[in-house]
Symmetry: C2
Subunit: 599 residues, 2 copies
């Protein structure tokens, strides 16, 4: 560890620009987060006294509305009764394992970070030992964990992080960097065979937007800043990052880099690899730092490309240079209806080839479209008449089958001329494929739905429904065959596992690329009477993933590998490629201090 010299000459990672320094923001008044469910503590789905579903709080448009169609529809989808009174309530808090951290190590951490910079509180430690996969949430609420972090540490900056690495080696500790804790790959799970105490390195106090360079439109941001925090600070200065993964309220810049994240508006702002120009990484064997960086270079080896997708295995990502954009002049939601998913895919492919993709566009299959409808209150009064008329028009005039309709949610964003040109192209291609506009309101609801859906998953778990998402990228030519193949395989496996009712499988096409598209699936089943439902789900999803690979899909589009999908790596990369990955890990972290990510 004496071989870990700091390189102060690299402390100024970017130069020659007139920076607008951002004063250290006051600690943002973040609402408390839940310790056993997705998101904010003030927000959760509940069943009201009438047996209808409601979302608590006032954070989302959905909050406070009477959601009366969700449970009946879910019942019809799963082929088994969902009885509001018959819940499977969370058993949280189960008592988490005791901390194994010895007094000397704890004292050293406290001396470095202050008393409020370290915690051994059981539920805080437990929260830092998981993400939001179904296995994680199942374990938090019904089964508990065999192993969780033995302490949580909050470094305030690079100096703290550097010293943490030193302390880890001196005291024989293992580390797991922690951003927003939103991963769905078991990346933050503690290896059960890890003998050393494990410290979760929570980066949330490293959350400053340090400066904005308005001429070159670059910002320097600490890795622990969440999407929401970055959004707020940049917006106050007239800028946006444009990176909006579904988790962006909670997930962090460092987490995005480590996961190789993708955002809903990537058509306009790019994915994380397009956004991050440089990042600073402290590895146990030294610092990966650069100077004289720019958007595009040819400098042989560039550690940035290795760190993207590294899942926290190489070190602590401390800050990054990112592209920022002036806030767009125009933001316009829209929705489009197509007679079926296949038609929507053909439209989407044509739109991709036109080069005129809106900032965000997603195509939902009939099930996700219906789910969206069920998350609205049943129309009454004038709205009911209007809704009936709309259905009549769709069915009788346009010949749409309501059980097959697919829908796009669209977000146009940019200069007025740009949005106008995109809308013109969208209209032309929509008409060519027999689609019709469904209105801005539905578009906005569909776009926002993504922020509420994770709350829904945790609620459904208490109603005997276990569900999770998985995703892939697949060549355009394989989109429909992959969907059909995965469905066939899921239904077969569901039967083979002897699971009750019908599996729920639904997909949306969320990102379009030159030669391929991202498909995002929801998979779920009714688990009442099932022994070990979480393990059964894992087996079902494993079968689905086998089908994904069989039909030409990638192992992941943006969720990553983590501990969940690493078993599939031999199918997608040659032995030498995988050995190289491990060898690089050994080089950067010879004592395996960092026990996160794929192993």
């Amino acid at each position: 560890m004496t071989s870990f010299p700091h390189s102060p000459e690299f402390d100024l990672p970017y130069q020659s620009a007139p920076h607008c320094l951002i004063p250290a923001p006051p600690a943002l008044p973040d609402a408390p987060l839940s310790l056993n469910r997705w998101g904010f503590a003030d927000t959760q789905f509940l069943i009201d006294s009438d047996g209808n579903v409601q979302l608590t709080g006032a954070r989302y448009a959905l909050c406070g509305q009477v959601i009366d169609r969700l449970l009946p529809w879910s019942q019809s989808q799963l082929g088994l009764p969902i009885v509001p009174g018959d819940a499977h309530p969370f058993a949280w808090p189960l008592s988490p394992p005791a901390s194994r951290l010895d007094a000397a190590a704890l004292a050293a951490l406290q001396q470095l970070l202050g008393d409020d910079g370290v915690s051994t509180e059981p539920l805080v430690r437990q929260r830092h030992g998981h993400g939001h996969s179904q296995e994680d949430i199942w374990a938090v609420n019904y089964e508990g964990f065999a192993r969780i972090p033995d302490a949580v540490a909050w470094p305030r900056g690079e100096n703290d992080a550097r010293t943490l690495l030193l302390l880890a080696q001196q005291h024989g500790l293992a580390l797991i960097p922690y951003g927003g804790g939103t991963n769905v790959t078991a990346a933050c799970r503690c290896p059960t065979d890890e003998a050393r105490p494990i410290i979760s390195v929570d980066t949330s106090r490293m959350n400053r937007v340090r400066w904005i360079d308005p001429i070159n439109r670059i910002a320097c941001i600490e890795a622990g800043a969440t999407g929401a925090q970055i959004h707020d600070v940049l917006a106050r200065h007239g800028y946006t990052l444009g990176h909006e993964p579904d988790s962006y309220e909670l997930s962090t810049l460092g987490g995005w880099i480590a996961t190789h994240a993708s955002g809903m508006k990537k058509n306009r702002y790019g994915n994380i690899e397009d956004i991050v120009i440089d990042c600073r990484v402290l590895t146990p064997s030294g610092e990966l730092l650069r100077r004289n960086v720019a958007d595009r270079e040819s400098i042989g080896f560039d550690h940035r490309r290795l760190v993207l997708g590294s899942e926290g295995r190489f070190g602590i990502i401390t800050q990054a240079l990112v592209k920022v954009h002036a806030l767009p002049a125009v933001q316009m939601h829209e929705s489009i209806l197509f007679p079926d998913f296949a038609t929507g895919v053909r439209f989407f492919h044509d739109l991709q080839q036109s080069g005129q993709l809106p900032a965000s566009i997603r195509l939902m299959d009939n099930r996700q479209f219906m789910l969206g409808q069920c998350l609205k209150p049943t129309p009454a009064g004038v709205a009911a008449v209007k809704s009936a008329l709309q259905k009549w028009y769709l069915r009788r005039v346009r010949g749409f089958d309501l059980d097959r309709i697919a829908a796009c949610t669209v977000l146009f964003e940019g200069a007025a001329t740009e949005v106008k040109a995109q809308r013109r192209t969208v209209t032309r291609l929509m008409q060519r494929h027999g689609g019709l506009y469904g209105g801005a309101g539905n578009g906005k609801q569909g776009y926002s739905l993504t922020f509420g859906i994770a709350y829904l998953r945790d609620f459904l778990l208490t109603q005997w429904i276990i569900a999770e998402s998985f995703e892939t990228t697949v060549p355009w030519s394989g989109v429909l065959t992959l969907c059909a193949g995965v469905r066939e395989r899921v239904e077969r496996e569901h039967r083979a596992l002897g699971l009750p009712g019908k599996p729920f499988l639904s997909q949306r096409l969320t990102q379009a690329y030159h030669g391929s598209a991202c498909l995002y699936f929801y998979l779920g089943f009714h688990y009442k009477g099932v022994a070990a439902p979480s393990a059964m789900y894992t087996r079902l999803e494993h079968a689905a993933r086998e089908a994904v690979l069989q039909y030409g899909g990638t192992l992941s589009h943006h969720h990553g590998i983590g501990k969940i999908r690493q078993g599939f790596l031999p199918q997608i990369a040659s032995a030498r490629s995988r050995e190289l990955n491990h060898a690089i890990k050994d080089l950067l972290d010879p004592d395996n201090l960092l026990v996160c990510g794929n192993q």
Copy 2:
């Protein structure tokens, strides 16, 4: 080497698409290449009996024209006489070093590749021991090399390449992969202290476009295919790759990957990292192969990102999956005049921010604009009157100073509506910045000039002018200060080195990115009477590069590092980052079989 198992399960790198198989193309009737100058043997600048310059052959628009203003203008720029009769003719061929390859190794290579698959011919070997930096061309023609490859081998495909790696280990050979031989970083230079025989692995027989997938718009192409070959095959099927580095007639797909290349039309088609979806690499310690690849993934480690820019150090790149595009409906050249370079830069920055960049746009400073003018014949007759009128208009009506004018060459490419929208934006911003259109003819000439300029450099060498290009990426805010800083430093160093006359320094802005721009410089001086002109040039360029870094530029935008710039790496990357690069090299090539690229 027994640890080098082939993984046949990865032989089909891409699936699920209806491929259009391309029959093995007949050996393309490429014109012979020069062995001591840039490009095709039939093409070179010469001085005719009237003392004017001409370009031989019929390959370029410039060929056969009387270029009467070039030498007088060069003389005025350099401040020293250029006398047509007083040349410094190339001394080529100097006698290259004898081959050190022993008979057993030669026999083994011949057995593998056939008699015509191996050469020990001295001038062929010498050509494979360099690229096209001034140091290279100086050595070829005036000084010779201390060390060149001891044989050239032409593998016909992956099986040959795999066996070559085995033979290298068995017979104690070093290897240097060779594409088009157009690098300007000394990447292909043989280390003089290398004791083993060195084999140049020429990939030119691995040049097939294997298949095109028309639905997903992907092609599978062998690494040795040149830009011109790829262009021809794809165009026959209605497609284009859209990658046009200045060297694209000669440089290869594998070379582009190894160099991290950039093309003139990157605004529309992207740089090489945007184009290549996957690549197959045979390293001495095993194969880096993938399956289930797509445009965008999150799979943890992806060897593609490590191989891009690897400069041939890790292994032999054998083939790649690349994005292809339908041939554009519209191609339209244009040119724009601005009163000066600084105004042009402000226009360019605004255009970048508009998001409406044409496929290609380059801004030349006054010197490069004048160089372009001097490569046309002096106008006579009606053209002379027209030219005089144009000059009068520029000077008197628009108030342009002819000695300060800067010019953009523009290439619009795409659908008609797209080109129309781009042109509208260009017109609006051009007018805002006081520019005016200079016509399609000048635009086309400027765009094409790049293909002839390398011939010019070699010709000028015989006229006592030594010159070379270098490039960087720099934040927009630093463009003008960097240009001024480099100029000041070059002039100072030119004086300090006691060089005669004035240095020639000229820049163009060739690529625009979100936060930065690529600046491409020509640097030259009159070397008559100078001892060791090539070494002097190296010192002058080194000083220029120091200024580039001092003013916030990157070490390279697209030329790469090679053996020329590796000494600067400690200034741009921390020690651990550089050690990591070397450690990865050691992992993949423990016996250092591959002695190319930065070391």
